[in-house]
């Protein structure tokens, strides 16, 4: 990875914690699963088959919306929610970035100790 890219990745470091946190809930994961097929869903469709109220589902959707995992789009009078993979992709890139930093640090440690 180029130094410049690395830096721009590093620049977004701590911003990923909210994404991890937003996904740390069974209900929200179930919502993400439903939406991840790519087709937008209404709140009614997302409430169907759950034991939760529309209000509860809406609250969870707002959490996902805040971190950019879902977006709402208007279709007439109804709000539809659709999935956006970007924050999760970025989170993965950040983990890869941190991982790669460790690879390099451990190579330096190895030569520091063994040479």
């Amino acid at each position: 990875m180029l130094q410049k890219q690395r830096r721009s990745l590093a620049a977004t470091g701590g911003a990923h914690a909210p994404v991890f946190a937003a996904l740390g809930d069974e209900t929200r994961l179930a919502l993400v699963r439903k939406l991840s097929g790519g087709r937008p869903h209404s709140i009614s469709q997302l409430t169907e088959g759950t034991k939760l109220t529309r209000q509860a589902i809406t609250k969870h959707l707002r959490v996902l919306e805040r971190v950019g995992i879902v977006h709402s789009v208007h279709a007439g009078r109804e709000s539809l929610f659709e999935f956006d993979p970007t924050p999760i992709e970025k989170m993965r890139e950040y983990l890869n970035f941190v991982s790669e930093q460790w690879d390099q640090a451990l190579i330096r440690l190895k030569s520091f100790i063994e040479d």
Partner: protein
């Protein structure tokens, strides 16, 4: 299985040598590329200045958690919101998301096995998230596979 980084390195050196390279603040600074103000002390904040080229504007700050001689060294490590020179705010990082870095040492026939882990990226209980990822189908599945591959490689 969860969101953590794990690395295993075989080092051709006795465990006592590796322990010193990890926990002597000057030796740690050499390979980690940080100039630390003083020795690591369990329960205390360690401060210094990063010397890694391109990141010299960054402060090092960590809290030493465990120092079990020749076995385990760990610290908690804040991840500031931005490492970018223009946006980085030095000072109090106690409210930043924090990960846990652990170095575990094991004696081997040829030297020492070092197992490094960094965990806590998620700040969430349980491993349910990746379970759910695995069950996922559709357009997103490929992205999740990437995450899984990454985590599996580390596990």
């Amino acid at each position: 299985m969860n969101d953590r980084i794990e690395k295993r390195v075989e080092l051709k050196a006795p465990i006592s040598r590796v322990w010193r390279a990890l926990t002597d603040y000057r030796e740690f600074g050499e390979w980690f590329r940080v100039k630390l103000d003083g020795p690591f002390v369990k329960g205390q904040v360690s401060r210094g200045q990063i010397t890694y080229p391109g990141y010299e504007h960054l402060k090092w700050e960590a809290v030493v958690q465990k120092m079990e001689p020749e076995r385990l060294f760990s610290f908690t490590w804040p991840h500031p919101k931005s490492l970018d020179k223009a946006e980085y705010a030095p000072g109090d990082h106690s409210k930043d998301p924090t990960t846990v870095v652990e170095f575990r040492l094991e004696k081997t026939a040829t030297g020492t096995l070092l197992v490094l882990t960094e965990s806590g990226f998620e700040n969430i209980p349980g491993d349910s998230r990746l379970e759910a990822f695995r069950r996922n189908e559709g357009g997103w599945a490929e992205q999740i596979k990437n995450i899984e591959r990454y985590v599996a490689k580390a596990a």
